[in-house]
């Protein structure tokens, strides 16, 4: 069953259901508003145009449906949305402007380099930054006191992604003999490559990586990159890409008849996005991605899915939606517990965040001393009929994994 088609849950049900987890929302707090109804001014920084526009728009859709749900919880928020234009300098200046315009907390910024630029602004100005999505580990390694990340770091994504691969091989009874690793050479891709290089030898994987191919995501086409991957004779492609380049890679694989047992991402976007399905059709099926995903079994996620489905009946519910919602939830929860929207008051309570009832798979949202949530968990999703379905872990599975994937010409 697609994750976006859960039984209807009204906002009233959402409020009632979530009230049961009230104690978990905040340290021993209650869900009743602890402060006046003055909305928290949330500055949301996203790449709404430029090469990451698709992902940024996906995050924005998640943000758009959130204020109504927060209001139901007695945690009103007012969104101030700014476009980073997928540009580092623009991200920095827009962060400055949002703070100047009265934003009390910033959320963003989807891409690691831009997020780091925004983090520096927040640190200088004493305004909290809740990161929705950005995986480069150095963001939370610089001693920032204002940065809180509810997204796994690249090493964690890779560790969990590779562990899930082993589980898949075990379940299917098939293990590839060798793999080729292709990655985008942007900040995220490089961080992921670094993590793969460092962690792969330590995880006792049942196959070697015979070649690592770094490519420019903005390249006009990726024919030579795919040709080079094919020439290795690998029967598994590990891919770290973004939306556009994942399409280019698969398109070239079909043309060059490069048919490994599977294409699997250890935690990057791209292969579960609407455009991927629309452009590639049947060739989008069976691709695997290991990444944090929505937990379909919580009241809160059902309410979010329902609200999202109503607002965007044609859009796909993606990880971006869930993490952007959770980032706003974290900020709103801090304001509720602080009883104030003052940035300094928010900074005082954010380190003690403890949200048990949320939407993504994983334990309660808590931050370590570096501002990193260490309770995120990855799942394996596989594409079937133009939709992603959870295949691992077993308790959240919606379908059985298909591995090895059928060849390009064997697909209806």
């Amino acid at each position: 069953m697609p994750v976006s088609r859960f039984p209807f849950v009204s906002r009233r049900d959402f409020l009632a259901g979530t009230a049961a987890g009230a104690a978990a929302l905040g340290v021993g707090g209650s869900l009743r508003p602890a402060r006046a109804a003055q909305p928290l001014k949330v500055g949301l920084l996203l790449p709404l145009s430029g090469s990451l526009a698709r992902e940024g728009q996906s995050c924005k859709r998640g943000a758009d449906v959130t204020p109504a749900l927060m209001a139901d919880l007695g945690m009103p928020v007012q969104l101030m949305i700014a476009d980073t234009e997928t540009n580092l300098d623009t991200a920095r200046t827009r962060a400055e402007k949002l703070i100047a315009d009265g934003a009390e907390v910033l959320i963003g910024a989807f891409e690691s380099a831009q997020t780091l630029a925004v983090a520096q602004v927040c640190e200088q100005r004493g305004v909290p930054l809740v990161i929705n999505i950005a995986a480069a580990p150095n963001i939370t390694e610089q001693g920032f006191k204002t940065v809180f990340r509810n997204f796994p770091t690249a090493p964690r994504l890779v560790t969990e992604g590779l562990a899930l691969m082993k589980e898949m091989f075990k379940t299917s009874g098939t293990t590839p003999s060798k793999a080729v690793f292709m990655h985008n050479n942007d900040t995220f891709g490089t961080a992921m490559a670094g993590a793969v290089g460092k962690l792969f030898p330590t995880l006792e994987m049942p196959f070697p990586i015979v070649e690592t191919i770094s490519y420019d995501g903005a390249a006009r086409d990726l024919a030579v990159e795919v040709g080079k991957a094919k020439a290795t004779g690998a029967d598994l492609l590990i891919l770290v890409a973004h939306g556009e380049d994942s399409i280019k890679v698969i398109r070239e694989m079909v043309k060059q008849r490069f048919e490994p047992k599977a294409v699997v991402s250890p935690g990057s976007p791209g292969m579960y996005e609407v455009q991927f399905y629309k452009t590639l059709g049947k060739y989008a099926d069976y691709s695997l991605t290991n990444l944090p995903w929505i937990n379909p079994h919580t009241k809160m996620s059902q309410a979010l899915l329902t609200a999202f489905g109503k607002a965007y009946p044609d859009a796909l519910f993606e990880m971006n939606v869930g993490f952007t919602f959770e980032a706003i939830l974290i900020a709103a929860d801090a304001a509720r517990r602080a009883g104030s929207t003052n940035p300094k008051a928010l900074l005082d309570v954010l380190p003690t965040t403890n949200i048990a009832d949320h939407v993504m798979i994983g334990g309660p949202i808590v931050f370590d001393a570096k501002g990193q949530n260490t309770n995120t968990r990855s799942a394996t999703i596989q594409n079937f009929g133009g939709r992603p379905k959870v295949v691992f872990p077993a308790e959240a599975a919606e379908a059985r994994v298909v591995f090895p994937a059928p060849g390009w010409q064997q697909r209806g």
Partner: protein, 288 residues
């Protein structure tokens, strides 16, 4: 040589041939009108958007839409030259530069307003097909696009060598004073030439829409690519543009295959620097 490498070289040649047609337009315009079209890539991107629009709304294959787009672009180029660029021909080069860069910026932002920031790609029914030619796997889309590009380029060369108008345009390029003395309408011929250059861009844009996705930043990238090709091949030389396109296409493939794919573009610039140092007029450019 391995089959994989041979496949990649064929891909580079085919892609390079399509790039050549785009660069040919730049070369023709500069060779005759002596104006450097800094909006060349942006015009190509507009043609790509036109091909995408025809394919999306009218289900028209870009190969079939190519003549229409080339014709419309010819008209646009003709009018642009007569209405705007002509008055800048006698002015200093920096003013021409500002004019054309302004046009380029308007086109980039106009396309952002009209089509948004997302990438638009044309999906043809044979988009994933390949031909098996012995041990080689040849991408059908690239093969058809390269064949169309080559046919267009050859037709253009025949036009310049055999037709009356083509000969008159060459006369303008070779000896402007002489052309005026014998009564040629230079202003009209310049407009026709600019129109032909933009028609090349229209045709190349239609073909490129099948190979790469278009979004607003695509224009400036293609301008840079066109400049690399014509400088390597020889500014003003038609065969130089063809050679330059193929050379850049193949060199990118070899750099990606033997070195690192991330270094593809860097390798093109390296070739550009070598040519500028060793043979500034380009591989097939004449000394002037």
């Amino acid at each position: 040589m391995s089959i994989d490498l041979a496949n990649q070289i064929v891909t580079g040649i085919l892609t390079g041939l399509v790039y050549s047609l785009m660069a040919l337009g730049l070369s023709v315009i500069f060779g005759v009108v002596r104006v450097v079209n800094f909006a060349h890539g942006e015009m190509t991107a507009l043609a790509m958007y036109a091909a995408w629009a025809l394919a999306t709304w009218l289900d028209l294959d870009p190969l079939l839409g190519m003549p229409l787009i080339a014709l419309v672009m010819f008209g646009c180029g003709y009018l642009l030259q007569r209405g705007l660029i002509d008055s800048f021909i006698a002015k200093p080069e920096h003013m021409q530069f500002i004019l054309l860069v302004s046009l380029a910026i308007i086109m980039v932002n106009g396309s952002l307003l009209a089509f948004g920031p997302d990438a638009h790609g044309v999906q043809v029914s044979y988009g994933f097909d390949t031909y098996e030619m012995g041990p080689l796997l040849v991408d059908k889309v690239r093969l058809l696009a390269a064949a169309a590009s080559l046919a267009f380029s050859l037709a253009l060369m025949v036009f310049f060598r055999r037709s009356k108008t083509g000969k008159a345009i060459r006369a303008c390029a070779d000896n402007l004073v002489g052309a005026r003395v014998i009564g040629l309408d230079v202003r009209r011929l310049y407009a026709v030439t600019f129109g032909i250059g933009t028609a090349c861009v229209g045709a190349a844009g239609a073909l490129l829409s099948m190979l790469i996705d278009v979004m607003p930043p695509t224009g400036p990238e293609l301008t840079l690519l066109a400049f690399i090709i014509v400088i390597v091949g020889g500014l003003g030389s038609m065969t130089g543009a063809l050679l330059g396109g193929v050379l850049i296409g193949v060199s990118e493939v070899l750099a990606g295959y033997f070195l690192m794919p991330s270094m593809k573009s860097m390798f093109s610039f390296a070739i550009l620097i070598v040519v500028l140092v060793a043979r500034p007029q380009g591989l097939l450019g004449g000394r002037k």
